[in-house]
Amino acid sequence: MAAMELRLPVPRKVVSQGLARGSDKHLVAPGDTITTDTGYMRGHGTYMGDEKLVASVAGAVERVNKLICVKALKTRYNGEVGDIVVGRITEVQQKRWKVETNARLDSVLLLSSMNLPGGELRRRSAEDELAMRDYLQEGDLISAEVQAVFSDGAVSLHTRSLKYGKLGQGVLVQVSPSLVKRQKTHFHDLPCGASVILGNNGFIWIYPTPEQKDEEAGGFVTNLEPVPLHDREVISRLRNCILALVAQKLMLYDTSILYCYEASLPHQIKDILKPEVMQEIVLETRHRLLELEG
């Protein structure tokens, strides 16, 4: 049966303030004066104007001793060494791939900084260079780690671990990088039956939990067998839950996603994206997260 949901837009409401601790955050808009005290140092997202420190982006003020930065809510990805990112290949070049990672410049993945199929460590020969498109071609998704950041902010990636490499079947969700919480691990096998990679660059990959871990060692043979319906339902539900959390600007990490997933269970998957349902389940998630913090 065809479903058609047409509605009138509703004005955005201020989400219940004071629910979370730390809601006394110092928030600024571009052009707002942060401080008139000259004893502070100017950090990212700020500039000096008439002896005043003024914000140049919208976000939360962060102070580290004398340094004042503004962390923007909506931003491109600023790479840091050791970050885990999910990216899409945009170009195959001489000995390198260009990767789109939501940064200001395309990132690079050098042929020499990836594990080739077979896993043996050897010099990269001319044949390897010719076969680059067989390994990764335009449009392919990869997970990788940031190896270095160049002076212009461009990022160099590496996939020299069995954890990283080409991604198979699953769903990509793109969110703002500032909504992904930094954690010890960004690869999670959720107990609800699917796995997620929370890229620091705001690319989130949801995929069915692989059955045997050692099989992905090759990483270049993608499994194109149909994913069972049950796994699909879990993946779609997770995707919609992440979008709901993002719409309400909640940080994304394994616990928040899992709580949101559990809160969404009474609803149908496609209904999660309705504004009122979104609000309801995210509110429930926030309550549970607060309880957890104690």
Partner: protein, 291 residues
Amino acid sequence: MASVVLSEAEKVYIVHGIQEDLRVDGRGCEDYRCTEVETDVVSNTSGSARVKLGHTDILVGVKAEMGTPKLEKPDEGYLEFFVDCSANATPEFEGRGGEELGTEIVNTLYRIFSNGSSIDLKSLCINPREHCWVLYVDVLLLECGGNLFDAISIAVKAALFNTRIPKVRVLEDDEGSKEIELSDDPYDCIRLNVDNVPCIITLSKIGCRHVVDATLQEEACSLASLLLSVTNRGTLTCMKKLGKGSLDPESIFEMMETGKKVGKTLHIALQKTLEKEESLGTTRQKVGFLG
């Protein structure tokens, strides 16, 4: 058009999902995304509407101006369409980049309004051979998130529903010269009957099934789609194939049946929303672009 690149495995995942009637966002094959419609959003038009269908964002303004009827139809007014692809939607539209898509949409709109029954053009005539109303329908694409045609047709219908044309009278004096008099009351206006205005339903063939309201990702997996314009009674008024693939005659019939069914539900839902908005009148808080 704004398009996305997908890896082979992602495409396979989407195609298999559609085969099992579970799309990536949890919808079935015949479900639309949640759509928002608001009319009267631009104050200096005769009628306007904004439609948000998922990430697709369309603004339509209708402006009524007086003109001379076309020679071949002296007792009818006419509609003029224009589509502007804003570079805000995608950088590809910068400069003349959006022109090709714009012309394609305009031609489609002319086609679905080119018959006598879509809208009563005779009511737009003021004075045969001399004066008539010309409705300039301007479409602005603010964001492209797949399924542009459906969203545009919904927005055009809503804007036409919202259109108010001032009432004029033709006075004739003794010497036979005619004078047009505008009513003093700004609320004294005529409205268009939009009951028969068709909406476009795009059905995309993905794998061996077809879906309505495809997202950008799904459009990337589809080789051919069928564009149907359907009236509120389920009558098919126009059909067009998009994309480079080919369609089996049998599947075209299936798609037509689905299109008619979905079209009827769409018209009912749209009519209900527009009437609801009108009944709320000024008590409803306008959302517009900043809400």
